[in-house]
Each structure stands twice: as structure tokens, then as C-alpha cells.
């Protein structure tokens, strides 16, 4: 494999990582701070993609369409928190898993009723459709846009959590919920806001990934598993950890798929190497997770150390 191809694959890995980060950031916020296992996070991702496709039809401009989709998803997220999840915080995680799994079924069936069972059409707008030459090959502009949006969200979250009053409350709520409540902070409203923020982040991931991936019922479940791997590797509740974990998972997955069959072919017969390489590559991120957990059981950058 020559150097240019290696650079291209590195860029692909980083881009996949940034896309995963968008998804994982909201998940880790909700899981780490509210201690809520939210399996329905993937549903908000799906909602973001579907709503973007729908609002594109209404306003016919990509950015306003995304903004509208984000707003609606945040509102839906807030509503879900108030009506369904609020009463589950004190309970065992199993109740939360059951309830949010129910939400997955609800959203899947609901969108199927509204949009039909077949995948729907969502393409990037014309100004994001071309390619630019990068490392000796044309690189899709939409993927550069995903990288830019992902990095911008990371910066925004860093600022929000580290340098604003809301962020201070979020950090305090994560450390000692009762003390924050005793100091007169409306923790219920705070959690509602965080949940809505998490839903909006998932919707942003869906809106950005939608033009690249298939927009279909159940699209959230595939990426949800990856997002959980990311936050476990990074350290639950830590935005920085989610960022590092996402980039690692993106790179390991991409390198594995791009190179393992060729590497194995040096020792094995070609057909065996192709099949074995594919199998091992699909395990690579889980092996990475196992290794991280073996040496750092709380993840690479745990939230409360």
C-alpha cells in the first residue's frame, strides 16, 4: 500500500470517527450525567435523517432544513423525557433499557406509518456534491463537511460544558445530584434540557450522515452499537473521551478493513486471506474495546477521575 493511499485511508478513518463522535457525544452526555441508558438515541438519529429529508422538501435548502429537523427532534426529545423517562431515573438500568427499547419500536413503527416501509431519498445539496483533490484522489465534499461539523460540535460542547453556567450545572449534577438540588437548582428542568440537547446532537449526526448512508427504518440501531463501543472506550460521561474513542474506533475499523486482507495474504492463500481478513476486521473494534477495558476499566479518559 503506497503512502498516498495510506493518507486517504487515514482521512476516511478520521471522517468515520467524527461521524461516530456526533452520535456518541449525546449518548455519553445522557448516560454519564443523567445515569440513563438510552437505547432510543439511535431513534433520534433516524428522526434527524428522516426529518431533514422531509424539511428539504419544504424549504429546499440544506442548512435551514437541518436547523428545522434539529429543532423538531429536540422538542420530541424533551417530550419523551418529560412523559416517559423522567419516572425511571431512580430505577434499575433494566427498566430504562426496557422503556427505551419500547421507544425504538414506537419510533420505527411511527416513521413507517408516516414515510412508508421503503428507504427514502436524501442526497447532499449541489454545493456539497462535488469532489476536491486530496492526497492524489478526488475526495467527496460532503465528507469534508461532516468533518467540519463534527469538529465544530466538539468545540461547542467543550465550551458549553467547560465554560458556561449551564455546563457548570451539568458537571455538578453529574457529580452530586442531590447537592445541586439542595442548592436550589431545578434538576428536572436541567435534565430535560440535557436530554433535548442529546437528541439534537443525534439528529445532527443523522442529518449529516443521511446524505452518505441509507435513510431507512432502523438505521439508528446499527450505529448505536458503534456509539456504545465508542463511549465505553472513551470513558462513560466524558465528551473528550467520546472524541478520542470515536477517532480510535474510526481509524481501527478503517485500517482493519482496508489493510488486513492484504496483510494476511502475505502468509495465507488469497481466498482464505480475503474471508479471514473480513472476519477479523469486523471484530477489530471489539478487540480494541476489550484491550482498553483490560488495562483501563473506566475507559481512556473517564469523566470523574
Amino acid at each position: 500500500m503506497d503512502l498516498l493511499l495510506l493518507l486517504q485511508q487515514t482521512l476516511n478513518g478520521l471522517q468515520l470517527g467524527v461521524m461516530l463522535f456526533l452520535m456518541a457525544a449525546g449518548l455519553t452526555l445522557i448516560f454519564g450525567i443523567m445515569d440513563l441508558i438510552n437505547l432510543a438515541h439511535g431513534s433520534f438519529y433516524m428522526l434527524g435523517a428522516y426529518l431533514t429529508a422531509w424539511t428539504m422538501g419544504l424549504v429546499d435548502a440544506f442548512l435551514p432544513a437541518i436547523a428545522l429537523a434539529l429543532l423538531i427532534t429536540a422538542a420530541v426529545g424533551f417530550l419523551v423525557e418529560v412523559t416517559a423517562l423522567r419516572r425511571l431515573y431512580g430505577r434499575d438500568h433494566l427498566y430504562q433499557v426496557l422503556a427505551t427499547f419500547g421507544l425504538i419500536l414506537f419510533f420505527n413503527e411511527g416513521l413507517k406509518l408516516l414515510f412508508g416501509p421503503q428507504p427514502i431519498f436524501l442526497q447532499p445539496p449541489a454545493w456539497l456534491s462535488g469532489q476536491v483533490p486530496l492526497f492524489g484522489a478526488p475526495y467527496p465534499v460532503i465528507r469534508l463537511a461532516i468533518i467540519a461539523v463534527g469538529l465544530a460540535s466538539a468545540l461547542l460542547l467543550w465550551w458549553l460544558i467547560g465554560h458556561t453556567r449551564l455546563g457548570m450545572l451539568i458537571r455538578a449534577g453529574a457529580d452530586d445530584r442531590e447537592m445541586v438540588q439542595a442548592l436550589g437548582v431545578d434538576i428536572a428542568r436541567l435534565f430535560g434540557l440535557i436530554f433535548a440537547l442529546g437528541a439534537a446532537l443525534a439528529a445532527l449526526a443523522g442529518a449529516m450522515a443521511g446524505p452518505v448512508l441509507a435513510v431507512r427504518i432502523g438505521m439508528g440501531e446499527d450505529i448505536l452499537i458503534l456509539a456504545f463501543v465508542v463511549i465505553v472506550i472513551g470513558g462513560i460521561g466524558s465528551i473528550r473521551g467520546a472524541f478520542l474513542g470515536a477517532l480510535l474506533v474510526g481509524l481501527v475499523d478503517t485500517y482493519g478493513r482496508a489493510m488486513l486482507p492484504d496483510l494476511l495474504a502475505m502468509f495465507l492463500e488469497r481466498t482464505v486471506a480475503d474471508a479471514a481478513g473480513a472476519s477479523i476486521a469486523s471484530m477489530a473494534i471489539y478487540i480494541l474495546m476489550a484491550l482498553v477495558l483490560a488495562f483501563r476499566p473506566r475507559g481512556l479518559l473517564p469523566a470523574r477521575s
Partner: protein, 394 residues
């Protein structure tokens, strides 16, 4: 309160009573299990099969072979363990006479032992793994669609005929993926520049597309059904490769559910298939028009297969006559089905897989903006699969 309670108990008793099969009702009605993927990834395929089958049953007046037919539908969520569990349920609780609906080869292979052990017929409207066509061919298994390799063979023969000197091959890493590549290579003799297997349900193909570009083949053959196909075609077009290296695939990679979601990116691509919405026969015209009217979308080949499956079962029950519920009689009747279907002439080979014609289709954009497939040529006539010789039906 007491009245309400006893009403519920009575209703429950009726419900249980009607669900429990007795020998008498088994004679009077045909109970069919339709287990397919209705939620999550791949649900577009399962829904099309289900809708096609429903339409077929409706066109036959709710009676297959004149026998009142009850269809028990269930969702397998594309998970083998769920499929096996629901199969058990449908056999023991619902008392099904035959099973159909299945989309996926890995689920089909997982369900087969349970069905064969319980002497329940399995008529697959889609999955046709090579194992069940060859050495492990099974008296309880029939396929009304194709053997997995067939549509890939058709594409391979076409790419060979077009004179492309090298190809790059991609498929998911599961039984049907390996069948796909084997099928393509059986009829393509040029250079293979790469053979890539990706995990089932993979989202992003940037890594594979970068490697593919570096390998510089003359053509690309890919087998990605459902969401995988949508992601791959979108990303291939976004990488600017569609004008440089043409895409070829089986019908599954360019079926109607995919075309709706990728738009113009797929226009011009050639794909091998046993069916096309424009195949010129009366039954097909009726099917396409009725499907469009009933469900508000164009049918895919999966929908046509679901419809044809209802026709095949109908013909088998009719062949068998009054004694249809005798399993040996029904098997003989099914084996000897010769029928005009939406795809034209249909009959079973000795391994219970179809013998039929195959076509090459091209993705086109119609004047009204619809993107769909049109037949270009017939590539195989009365084509049988490559594994039938290994089958010793016991």
C-alpha cells in the same frame, strides 16, 4: 365488574380455542407461516415479499387451490435466533402446514432443521443458499425465486460478453455473499483485481472505495441488497467514480427499493435478474398495476417473488386435489408444478429450485421522473443452478 371479567375470560377462551389447531380444521384450511423481516435493517425487503404475497392471495380470493387460507405473519428482525424461536412457535402454537417469507440465507439455514424435523414444508420466496441446492438438498425445502448464484451468473455472463478485461468484486461476508461472488466468477473469465467481503450491515464504504480506485479495474461488480446497496451506490457516486468505472450487480443491488433512495446515481447500470417490471406478459402487467394501486409504490423483484410464491402454492394445492394435506401427496404436487408466473414459465428442478429464464436489465429514468429497470436482453434460457448435480433428494 364480574360481567366484564367473565367476558374477558370467554374472549380469551375463544381466542385460545381458535388458535389451537385440531386435525379437523387442519384439513379444512391451509395454515401458512409467513416469517420475514418487517423491522430494522432489511425490513424493506421483507415488507415487499409480504405485500406481494398478500396481493397474490387476494387475487386468488383468499383461497389457495380453493382451500380457505390462513396466513400467520411474524417478524424475525433479521436475527437467526429470533427466526428459530418464531418457527418453533408457529409450528407448535399455530400448527402451520408450510412456512414461507424468509429473506436471508443465514436465517433460512438456521430454520431448516426445525422445519424438517417437524415435517413442515419450507417454501422460500427469496433465500436460496447453495448448501440447500446441492449436497444438503432437502425434501422439505423448496425455493420459488432462484438459487443464490443465478442473478450473479447472469451479470457475470453479461460483463464477460461486454468485453471488460478486469473487475473488482464486493459482497457482504455471509453465505449469500460468497454464493454471489462464486456465481459471478462462474461466467466471467477476465482478471479479478480484488475480491472484498464486508461485514453484513456495514455503513461506510469509504475504505473499500479508496482501495478499489487504487486497483483501477475496468468494471465493478457488487452485491449489496437493501440499505447496504443504498449506502454503497451513494458513496460510489459521491466519490466521483460512476463516470470512470461502471457499476454492475445482480438485481438485488438495483432493485426498486434501492432505486427510490439513490435517485439518478444508479441510472445506466446493468443488472441480472429473473424478473423485471416491464416483462411482457399479461400476469405481470396485472401484478405491477395492482401492486402500484394497492401500495402506492412500484414493486421490486422481492414483491414479484412473494406474488409468485402464492401462485405456486395455489397450483400445488390444486394439483394435489382433495387429499392435499397428505404430506407426500403435497410434495409430489409441488414438485410437478408447471406454471406461468409474473416472470413467465416456471418449474422446479429435481433439487426443488427453479428452472427459468434470466435477463439483463438497465436502470432508466422514465419521462415522468420514475427511476426503474427495463429489460435489455435475455441472457439465459431455461437456466438451472450449478449445484443440482450434487443433490441426492432423500
Amino acid at each position: 365488574m364480574r360481567n366484564a371479567l367473565s367476558a374477558i375470560v370467554a374472549a380469551a377462551a375463544v381466542a385460545i380455542g381458535s388458535a389451537a389447531p385440531t386435525p379437523a380444521t387442519a384439513q379444512q384450511e391451509l395454515r401458512i407461516g409467513l416469517l420475514t423481516t418487517l423491522s430494522g435493517p432489511g425490513s424493506g425487503l421483507g415488507t415487499d415479499i409480504r405485500d406481494g404475497f398478500r396481493l397474490g392471495l387476494e387475487h386468488l380470493g383468499g383461497r389457495l387451490g380453493g382451500v380457505p387460507t390462513v396466513v400467520i405473519e411474524a417478524d424475525d428482525a433479521r436475527k437467526p435466533d429470533v427466526a428459530v424461536q418464531k418457527t418453533d412457535e408457529m409450528i407448535s402454537r399455530d400448527g402451520i402446514f408450510l412456512m414461507t417469507g424468509q429473506v436471508w440465507s443465514n436465517l433460512t439455514l438456521a430454520m431448516m432443521p426445525t422445519l424438517a424435523r417437524n415435517r413442515v414444508f419450507f417454501i422460500s420466496p427469496n433465500a436460496g443458499p447453495s448448501a440447500l441446492a446441492g449436497k444438503q438438498c432437502n425434501p422439505w425445502f423448496f425455493n420459488t425465486a432462484w438459487q443464490n448464484d443465478n442473478n450473479h451468473e447472469a451479470t457475470g455472463a453479461f460483463v464477460q460478453k461486454q468485453g471488460y478485461k478486469s473487475v473488482y468484486l464486493l459482497a457482504p461476508n455471509y453465505p449469500a455473499g460468497h454464493d454471489a461472488i462464486a456465481g459471478f466468477k462462474r461466467y466471467y473469465e477476465g482478471e479479478i483485481k480484488g475480491e472484498v467481503y464486508t461485514p453484513l450491515g456495514q455503513l461506510d464504504y469509504a475504505a473499500e472505495i479508496a482501495n478499489l480506485r487504487a486497483a483501477a479495474p475496468e468494471a465493478v461488480f457488487f452485491f449489496y441488497p437493501g440499505g447496504m446497496g443504498i449506502s454503497f451506490i451513494k458513496q460510489y457516486a459521491q466519490a466521483g467514480l460512476i463516470e470512470e468505472i461502471p457499476l454492475f450487480g445482480p438485481a438485488f443491488s438495483f432493485s426498486q427499493d434501492i432505486l427510490r433512495a439513490v435517485g439518478e446515481a444508479a441510472v445506466g447500470a446493468y443488472n441480472g435478474a429473473q424478473w423485471s417490471p416491464d416483462l411482457d406478459n399479461e400476469l405481470n402487467k396485472k401484478f405491477v398495476a395492482a401492486f402500484r394501486e394497492t401500495y402506492g409504490r412500484l414493486p421490486s423483484l422481492y414483491a414479484a417473488q412473494g406474488y409468485d410464491t402464492a401462485l405456486v402454492i395455489d397450483a400445488a394445492v390444486r394439483n394435489a386435489g382433495a387429499d392435499w394435506s397428505d404430506k407426500a401427496t403435497f410434495r409430489k404436487a409441488l414438485e410437478s408444478v408447471v406454471l406461468e408466473t409474473t416472470r413467465g414459465a416456471f418449474r422446479f428442478n429435481v433439487n426443488h429450485f427453479p428452472i427459468q429464464d434470466f435477463y439483463v436489465r438497465r436502470v432508466v429514468k422514465l419521462d415522468d421522473g420514475t427511476i426503474t429497470n427495463r429489460v435489455v436482453e435475455k441472457i439465459f434460457e431455461d437456466h438451472a443452478d450449478a449445484y443440482v448435480g450434487e443433490c441426492r433428494m432423500r
